[in-house]
Subunit: 168 residues, 2 copies
Amino acid sequence: MTVIQNNLTEKNKQYASTFTKGDLALPPAKKYAVVTCMDARIDPAAAYGIDLGDAHVIRNAGGNAKDALRSLIISEQLLGTKEILLIKHTGCGMLTFKNEDAHTVVQKQLGDAAVKELGGLDFQPFPDLEQGVRDDVAFLNNSAAIPDDVAVSGWVYEVETGKVRAVN
Amino acid sequence: MTVIQNNLTEKNKQYASTFTKGDLALPPAKKYAVVTCMDARIDPAAAYGIDLGDAHVIRNAGGNAKDALRSLIISEQLLGTKEILLIKHTGCGMLTFKNEDAHTVVQKQLGDAAVKELGGLDFQPFPDLEQGVRDDVAFLNNSAAIPDDVAVSGWVYEVETGKVRAVN
């Protein structure tokens, strides 16, 4: 077992030993979904005030809306969520490179087989934080897969301060 | 402001008021990534023992590896992670429907525009939990985009007990 796997099992033993929420329903109690970044500096439950059982939390590189679409459709069409909070963050790694940079790294470090497997994968970096939030909110609002009665709002989380602010 | 948005801002004010971790580095300190489900009953930081700053957390419907591939490549090629924990869970919604069921719901509730936009989207449900974990671990191990020196392990989280167990 690796150090990481050992950490998982040991910490989880402690968690399970005081666990009392085994009866929660599958659909999110508060009928909302959060889309945010995979960034290690974000703890959505704590920072965004999500109690266990209340919301779907979708995380990927950049808090990307396109990448989250499959999950969001399942969330709202099969499990009844009615609101989406899209939360990107300051200091995001996706602000620091371009698509071609990522493809160059893949070619150099992983080689032809990976290039072939990935094809023209869009890594979906974005050069401006607030505009990135606005673009993703617009993407969801314009998607036929997200009906008009699902409210979508855009936010920025500041990894330096722990604060969330709305993006207009 | 909606009730959900108000919850976010009010709870976040409390979080930020005692926040002391504003100096964490962008790359995950413990160099690992977790892929798990968006399910509302999972709190990865607490249940999987992830301290702030230690790991990327990727979440989507089902804890799906294919869906996570873009994020995982960025995690390991650009931000130095060396290990992946793939953790699906008991009672997952993805065990309860077939791809054609989801497409029928989309057609009925969202109509032709959504069907056209989504094309033949694979919602990626899976009929068996342990096999689903094994299949996704195999997918990552077989992907040229995940090099052989990145350790991948598969796990199940029990929403009824809070316990994690390894899948062989």
